[in-house]
């Protein structure tokens, strides 16, 4: 945008030496370049993934055998609360924003994000927000321990950490909203000429929908936590029964945000997988338009199903029936997506590089998470599943081999475009197989634990649950260690074979028309009509 003085050399790397990045920390601190900011987002989310992962390891170590092993139950509750907040807001969401920053301008032929300075802000808010959140671990009264859902009145019993928790959530929300506005403006206004909305690649499409969801629901969360804050410090009684408020109302407001939030974390994953499967099947994505409609219907339905998280709060019959039917309906567009992926593979010519492996595991394991989701939708049965390990198994299946695997798949897929070299395929495959095996050992037994009656968020349990807990803990340590292989892949990322522009034999799309590594500036003049259109055939 600011560099359009150089024209006609859109993809000429050398022509940009004079306009290259600043040296040292200034390059990163003041960066307005979508690629640099994308990289920072991705690295930040990886760091958070390991911090949140370390907390998960603590949780699994505590639960490996019955009895209290380490610290008090309050610390255990802090760990579950912080693990969730960090993984949701610190790892998964920023990772997708990082991928969006890197890839959306490249996919639509734009020189940068539409609002580069705001882009800088929305990233740099995050380290501040998470420093605040993590600092609560050292405060009197400990870190927040009321669950990431922050239900009052329990969350109001938090010690000194309480206002810091609220402030951190506000900052995360602010960052997400700014990022989402940037994505929408970029996609709507900066597409290559003749790239109509329905010609957009699926990753860009799912992000457009996600960004609208973010803009619609993050402010609702901000409102909810502000009410908590005023209830605690300014004498309001939104959620305090004594003052005429209603604690259940918080749950309604929270889940009005919370359910779309679930799709915020999975729609971009659908997008990534919809890019990768066609490439390695050497076949166009099956039913591109119906994929778009399916993603949109999922987004719409996500606004009218929130109370399925609350079937036990005491709801009138009509409410239960409505929320059950609406929830079951989500299975239809989700099914369309899965069937379309399978149809894309059908009669293709598949090869199984690491990104494809992660994507295939995504389709298998996300579908298993979808099945348990369908079971949870059945309200009378949900009474038995609610707040047990069955739910823990369900949402970890959709978030770990779901969202996280899709992020890994995307990272492997685009890594050669970012670095200019192929990553070490053997290490990638080892990373994939260990992750896939251990993720199942971790989370599959949790289904049985939940059905057998183990509630979630407990630091100790009855001895009949011991066997499956031990298996889950072994799996968790294995999964945690496997992720170190990914760090090794990144450290050796530039030691492999040089990649050409197209990188993958079956790849289509504008991002594969720029050199590898993608130069600091790309598409300073919009790509030609012909390239923009043909790159999809």
């Amino acid at each position: 945008m600011t560099t359009t003085t150089v024209d006609g050399h859109a993809s000429d790397h050398d022509a940009h030496e004079d306009h290259g990045p600043e040296k040292g920390f200034k390059r990163w601190l003041f960066s307005t370049n979508h690629k640099d900011i994308g990289t920072m987002y991705l690295i930040f989310s990886l760091v958070m993934f390991f911090i949140g992962g370390a907390m998960a390891m603590y949780i699994r170590a505590e639960l490996a055998i019955p009895g209290l092993q380490f610290r008090d139950p309050h610390f255990f509750n802090s760990m579950t609360t912080m693990h969730a907040l960090i993984m949701v807001f610190g790892a998964i969401m920023p990772a997708f924003v990082g991928l969006a920053n890197w890839m959306i301008p490249l996919q639509i032929g734009a020189p940068d994000m539409a609002l580069p300075r705001m882009n800088n802000w929305s990233f740099w808010i995050l380290p501040v927000a998470f420093s605040i959140l993590l600092s609560t671990l050292f405060m009197p009264g400990g870190a927040p321990a009321g669950g990431w859902t922050m239900y009052p009145p329990l969350i109001l019993q938090t010690g000194d950490a309480f206002p810091f928790l609220i402030f951190a959530v506000h900052l995360m929300g602010l960052s997400s909203i700014m990022g989402a506005i940037n994505v929408v403006v970029t996609i709507i206004n900066m597409r290559a000429p003749d790239m109509t909305l329905l010609k957009m690649p699926m990753f860009t499409w799912t992000w457009l929908i996600t960004a609208y969801l973010l803009i619609a629901v993050m402010p609702v969360l901000a409102g909810a936590v502000t009410m908590l804050l005023t209830d605690q410090f300014f004498g309001t009684s939104f959620f305090l029964a004594a003052g005429g408020g209603d604690p259940v109302m918080f749950q309604h407001i929270f889940w009005f945000f919370g359910h779309p939030e679930v799709y915020i974390m999975i729609l971009p994953a659908f997008g990534v997988v919809s890019e990768i499967i066609p490439t390695f099947s050497r076949k166009k994505l099956f039913g591109h338009d119906s994929m778009v409609y399916a993603a949109s219907s999922i987004a719409f339905l996500s606004f009218i199903v929130w109370a399925h998280h609350m079937f036990t709060v005491g709801m009138p019959l009509t409410g239960q029936l409505f929320f059950m039917f609406a929830t079951m309906l989500i299975a239809v567009p989700t099914g369309v997506k899965v069937f379309n992926w399978v149809a894309t593979m059908w009669r293709g010519a598949m090869t199984f590089e690491t990104p494809m492996l992660f994507s295939l595991a995504f389709v298998f394991l996300f579908t298993i998470g979808g099945f348990s989701g369908l079971m949870l939708a059945i309200a009378p049965a949900d009474v038995q599943y609610h707040d047990t390990y069955f739910v823990v198994a369900h949402f970890h299946y959709v978030l770990v081999p779901g969202s996280v695997f899709a992020i890994m798949a995307g990272a492997y897929y685009w890594l050669p475009k970012w670095t200019g070299y192929y990553y070490n395929e053997t290490l990638g495959k080892i990373h994939f197989w260990t992750s896939t095996i251990f993720v199942n050992i971790t989370f599959f037994p949790m289904h049985f634990l939940g059905l057998a009656g183990m509630p979630r968020r407990i630091p100790d349990y009855s001895t009949q649950f011991a066997d499956f807990n031990l298996i889950a803990s072994i799996g968790a340590f294995g999964f945690g260690l496997s992720q170190l292989i990914f760090v090794l892949v990144l450290l050796t990322a530039k030691k492999g074979v040089e990649a050409d522009d197209r990188v993958w034999e079956g790849a289509h799309g504008l991002e594969w028309t720029v050199p590898s590594p993608a130069p600091w500036h790309t598409f300073t003049t919009p790509p030609k009509h012909r390239i923009a259109v043909e790159s999809f055939d």
């Binding site: 019955p66 092993q69 380490f70 008090d72 139950p73 509750n77 321990a145 669950g147 239900y151 009145p153 329990l154 029964a241 209603d246 604690p247 050497r282 166009k284 039913g287 591109h288 119906s290 036990t312 709060v313 005491g314 019959l317 239960q320 059950m324 239809v332 099914g335 369309v336 009669r347 293709g348 010519a349 090869t351 492996l357 595991a361 394991l365 579908t367 099945f371 369908l374 079971m375 059945i378 009378p380 038995q384 609610h386 707040d387 896939t436 199942n440 050992i441 599959f444 037994p445 057998a452 009656g453 509630p455 979630r456 407990i458 100790d460 349990y461 009855s462 001895t463 009949q464 799996g475």
Partner: protein, 268 residues
């Protein structure tokens, strides 16, 4: 490929079956509704298995048959209105088949008419309080002492030596077999949730709000559950124990309770 991962997971599970008394599945329970809930759960489960076999079957076949190393040429199709309409319509039908019995069970669960006795259940951090509405009986129900002592870090007690570790209370709720028991739930501080899997009842106890639910146990026995809504530090240490006894044993219990003897119920 992914199957391998599953098989290895299953293998591990199988290896540990020898010395365990755990359950794999939801209990059928001892009320009409708990059995219906179990049936619903199994129905949806088998539907999922069936759909899974079809979808995963097609996918696995494709993974083996349609690979580049076999020298196949990729097909050109990328759209089929017929296929897309079919796989939108069929799930809708399956969902309808699931929704009807689920709704029926739900309507039955709402029918709290003609209760034989009412018990007010109040959640506290971290114990339960029970009050029998028509009798002069009220008591707290907390984690039993053996568990209480064993749960502490470095207690020196092997938790395996404690019978019903973390699932035993000092004063269980006693109800007669066959009676329709109505529970009125509320809380004194934060939100709790009262759950007994064998009775298929889970209801939140919310401060300032009265929630209602009911059960009718058809078999004598001791049924154990736990608080299922995170309620603070000792959330994991406030179990629920319900003893279903013959009606005359219940009368006898009422009499002793009203005489001030608190020990009857826990006499095994």
């Amino acid at each position: 490929m992914i199957r391998k991962a599953f098989l290895s997971a299953l293998g591990l599970v199988a290896a540990s079956t020898a010395n365990a008394d755990w359950a794999l599945n939801m209990p059928k329970g001892v009320t009409e509704l708990s059995k219906e809930t179990y049936d619903l759960h199994m129905m949806v489960f088998w539907w999922c298995v069936a759909i899974g076999i079809v979808v995963f079957g097609v996918m696995i076949y494709s993974l083996f048959a349609h690979r580049k190393s076999k020298g196949v040429e990729p097909a050109k199709f990328s759209h089929s209105t017929f296929a897309e309409v079919t796989w939108t319509a069929i799930p809708c039908v399956i969902l309808l088949i699931m929704a009807v019995p689920a709704a029926e069970t739900m309507i039955k669960a709402e029918d709290s008419r003609n209760p034989d006795l009412s018990i007010v259940v109040t959640g506290y951090q971290w114990k339960w309080h029970y009050r029998y509405q028509d009798e002069d009986i009220a008591f707290y129900s907390s984690l039993a002492r053996p568990s209480l002592e064993a749960r502490l870090p470095n207690s020196g007690v092997d938790v395996y030596s404690v019978e019903n570790y973390l699932l035993e209370v000092d004063n269980p709720v006693v109800v007669p077999k066959g009676a329709k028991v109505r529970l009125l739930l509320t809380s004194n501080d934060v939100i709790h949730s009262w759950w007994v899997p064998e009775l298929a009842i889970k209801k939140d106890a919310v401060p300032g709000i009265v929630n209602e639910t009911w059960f009718q146990a058809e078999e004598v026995g001791t049924y154990r559950g736990q608080c299922t809504e995170l309620c603070g530090k000792d959330h994991g240490y406030m179990p629920v124990v319900v003893e279903v006894v013959e009606p005359d044993a219940y009368r006898a219990w009422i009499d002793t309770r009203q005489d001030g003897d608190t020990k009857f119920a826990s006499a095994q």
